[in-house]
């Protein structure tokens, strides 16, 4: 260790036990050893501690070092599941075979991951973290990733047989597997209303209402491809849901934002008028802010797009309004196959307060999944299907009306058939009259 000697080496991220309980000798790991120095806590030291405890991790380190040396991965998939489910486990079998046809690192030849859904908002007590860790030490390698990119707790490193025992144990105290394969996946939600004043939604309730309604579609993969729900309580979108979720729920509000003029003045006094002009007023994307000569702030709420910037800067003076709800976007995904897509607006605003409101969002999700299950091609994400068939067709399929909030601007190409223009215009006029009539 290049750093100063820790005060208490027994209680330090660099600690290596003196006692070796694993029976297999360690492999040499000169490459991985180089990742043990430096100020950031080392996962390699963690793997080595586990290798003192069990032979599986001795061989895992052997295989990982082999990857570092040859610059290639050596895991292949397969089929492993627990009784009653079709997914939730990422099976891994080693591909590293010696000339005798036997695994080079036999103790880690089965090294499966169980994907387990964390509590909404990733809240834990230390008691529960220790309990999960104890269960995994009993049935698996002991190594847990908090969390995978989809949002699962990843219990890494189990034999095929022990996946069932581990699942049975944690399932008894309230944990369930997440998704793997073409299915509804584990969802994510931000800390939200539990600790954040910017939250405009009940993330806990939305998260669990949505994903727990499609639990059958999670445990028994039968969809065209993966389908992800993510919930962010405000447009800061800390869950990256617009980009990473097929179904993104973003908290927002539709009345005026709350302005505390006293706090505006206090902020200007603390940070300077120039700071507020440069960093608040001029950074408003729709020029909806104006600083008055008396250091009060005007907000053009009709032109505010709820971007959150000014609220992020002036956390005491500015807040979302009272008439809260959500914006719904669909179709975000990563690169495969057509390139990255952002979700696009499907519902510009809806309230989420009453049971009927929650039933409505559940219904929109169910309609979307059903339509996509019917019309999506194999391995085609929902967003890719929308791109292929056009947003208007998708909306018709799930029973939603078009809205100008769904576009950046109207079409620029005249190559389009407009056979039913009059009927469509009439629909719009009728909806407008209905809205006006309340």
């Amino acid at each position: 260790m290049a750093q100063n000697q820790p005060k208490n080496p027994e209680k330090h991220s660099t600690f290596i036990p003196k006692e070796k309980k694993s029976t297999k000798p360690f492999h040499k790991t000169p490459m991985l050893d180089q990742l043990e120095s430096g100020p950031w806590p080392s996962f390699v030291t963690g793997l080595k501690r586990l290798a003192h405890d069990n032979n599986m991790m001795v061989d895992l380190l052997g295989q990982l070092e082999h990857s570092y040396t040859t610059r290639k991965g050596y895991w292949k998939g397969g089929t492993v599941s627990v009784f009653g489910y079709g997914g939730g486990i990422i099976p891994r079998f080693t591909e590293l075979m010696g000339s005798d046809g036997k695994a080079m690192f036999p103790e880690a030849k089965e090294f499966h991951t169980l994907r387990v859904q964390p509590p909404a908002g990733n809240h834990y007590t230390t008691k529960m973290l220790r309990q999960l860790s104890d269960s995994w030490k009993k049935w698996g390698s002991g190594l847990i990733a908090f969390h995978g990119q989809t949002g699962n707790i990843m219990f890494i490193g189990s034999t095929s047989e022990n996946t069932q025992h581990f699942f049975d144990e944690i399932n008894e105290y309230g944990f369930d597997l997440g998704g793997a394969g073409p299915c509804v996946r584990t969802a994510m939600s931000c800390v939200g209303a539990a600790r954040c004043e910017q939250s405009c939604a009940n993330e806990q309730k939305i998260h669990r209402t949505l994903v727990n309604n499609f639990i059958d579609d999670m445990h028994r993969p039968a969809l065209p491809y993966k389908f992800k729900f993510k919930v962010s309580g405000c447009p800061n979108d800390c869950m990256n849901s617009i980009q990473r979720a097929d179904f993104a729920v973003i908290g927002t509000w539709r009345d005026d934002m709350k302005v505390d003029q006293k706090e505006i003045k206090a902020f200007i006094k603390a940070k300077s008028r120039k700071y507020v002009i440069d960093n608040v007023v001029n950074r408003c994307p729709t020029k909806a802010l104006s600083l008055n000569d008396d250091d009060t702030l005007d907000v053009d709420n009709r032109n505010c797009v709820r971007c959150m910037h000014c609220i992020n800067v002036m956390t005491k003076a500015l807040k979302p309004g009272n008439d809260k709800g959500i914006t719904l976007l669909m179709g975000g995904k990563r690169t495969l196959k057509i390139g990255d897509t952002f979700g696009t607006v499907i519902v510009p605003f809806m309230k989420l307060e009453t049971d009927a409101d929650y039933e409505r969002i559940r219904e929109i999700a169910a309609n979307s999944i059903d339509f996509w299950a019917e019309n999506g091609l194999e391995h085609e994400r929902c967003g890719e299907m929308i791109e292929r068939i056009g947003l208007a067709n998708f909306l018709e399929g799930i029973g939603l009306e078009v809205d100008p909030n769904m576009i950046n601007h109207p079409r620029t190409s005249s190559y389009v058939r407009l056979d039913e223009w009059d009927q469509e215009a009439e629909k719009w006029n009728q909806r407008k009259h209905q809205a006006a009539a309340g």
Binding site: G46, T70, H123, G142, D176, N279, R283, R334
Partner: protein, 364 residues
């Protein structure tokens, strides 16, 4: 036989399909009490958040960087500290940082001291470079071109000071991905695998291992077609069309895309998930051909540090990397970072025409 199956089934435990657990049972009592009724927040120091509720209650959060992959020793070590100096409540951020809830400001410094004494950094809040979001890599993925945790460890060692301070113009979210599917997501800076050669096909195995029509359908540029090779049904790749993306490799492992020499790293900048100021933005390619060089990937690290240095010097307050480049323009970005601009930076994928400069707007 049938009877035996019934007996076996009875012995199996039927799962309780409980789904996502209720978060309230693990929440700090002040979070439950003030749920949806928080008034404002501030940051007393890097790594610490302070939230005040309308009720007058206050809660402090200490954010700790972790190595993401935790074993029983680390979990118990961290939990011992949280139990002794905190109140037993913890949550994880999307970037694998732990957040410890406290009901009293007096507990902050002893808690931070205890984490630091145990080798864990406190930071990752506000205008810092927070923990890198990453994937599984060689540790567990079936298609990785590189490692994930190792790249992150090497980079976070270098960026440790930026994690524990709040010295950047705005927050910096770095991501890494170990194949071109890019599970790591959008980042202010993203370090991703970029393959540069078409897959090498083991024609003896294709017919037995791969569902050939699915593999053909998976190719984004229709470069794969069924073929008989050496008298066996297999697949062939039109190597002129092939974009070396590796999309065929997961459904057909005999089409090996990973190559110790030719699987390179590429760096992308300007991704942003937030709606703050500008709409969400994708990251854009800035550097490629970077060697995949374990165990510490120094070449990739050097470019990341160079970009961060220039961003820190040149960006204005509150500009994310993408906002900053939008203001100064891409020519200046390449000038300041001294990275070469090539024909490969010009996108030719579908819908890419709007990425060209369709104006006379030029900076001099």
């Amino acid at each position: 036989m049938a009877q035996q199956q019934v007996v076996e089934k009875k012995a199996m435990r039927t799962p309780i399909e409980s789904g996502c657990p209720d978060g309230f049972q693990y929440m700090h009592p002040l979070m439950i009490k003030n749920y949806g009724n928080w008034k404002y927040h501030d940051r007393p120091r890097p790594g610490v958040l302070h939230h005040v509720a309308y009720s007058g209650d206050e809660i402090w959060t200490v954010r700790v960087g972790t190595q993401r992959q935790l074993g029983p020793y680390e979990i118990n070590l961290l939990c011992d500290i949280i139990d002794k100096y905190g109140e037993g409540y913890v949550r994880f951020t999307i970037r694998s940082n732990m957040e410890i809830s406290l009901s009293s400001a007096d507990k902050i410094e002893p808690l931070i001291q205890a984490f630091n004494d145990a080798g864990y950094p406190v930071g990752g809040t506000g205008n810092s470079v927070t923990m890198i979001s990453h994937t599984q890599g060689w540790l567990h993925c079936d298609i990785p071109g590189t490692d994930a945790a190792g790249v992150v460890k090497a980079l976070m060692d270098d960026l440790h000071e930026e994690f524990i301070k709040e010295d950047m113009p705005n927050r910096v979210h770095i991501t890494t991905s170990c194949c071109q599917i890019n599970c790591g997501g959008q980042g202010d800076i993203a370090i991703n695998v970029q393959h540069t050669k078409p897959p090498k096909i083991n024609h003896d195995l294709v017919a037995n291992v791969c569902e050939r029509p699915s593999v053909v359908a998976r190719c984004p540029v229709a470069a794969i077609r069924p073929a008989m090779v050496n008298g066996k049904p297999s697949l062939e790749v039109d190597e002129k069309k092939c974009i070396c993306c590796g999309a065929c490799f997961p459904p057909c492992p005999p089409m090996q895309i990973n190559d110790p020499e030719h699987s390179k790293l590429a760096i992308w900048v300007g991704g942003k998930n937030s709606n703050a100021r500008s709409k969400p933005m994708f990251h854009k390619l800035v550097a490629a051909g970077i060697p995949n060089n374990p165990p510490r990937w120094p070449e990739a690290g050097a470019i990341v540090k160079k970009i961060l240095k220039v961003y820190k010097q040149d960006a204005k307050d509150w500009e994310r990397v993408g906002d900053w480049v939008e203001r100064i323009g891409w020519p200046r970005f390449f000038e300041l970072t001294e990275l070469p601009f090539t024909k490969f930076h010009i996108d030719n994928w579908r819908g890419s025409r709007h990425m060209l400069n369709q104006s006379a707007h030029i900076r001099f």
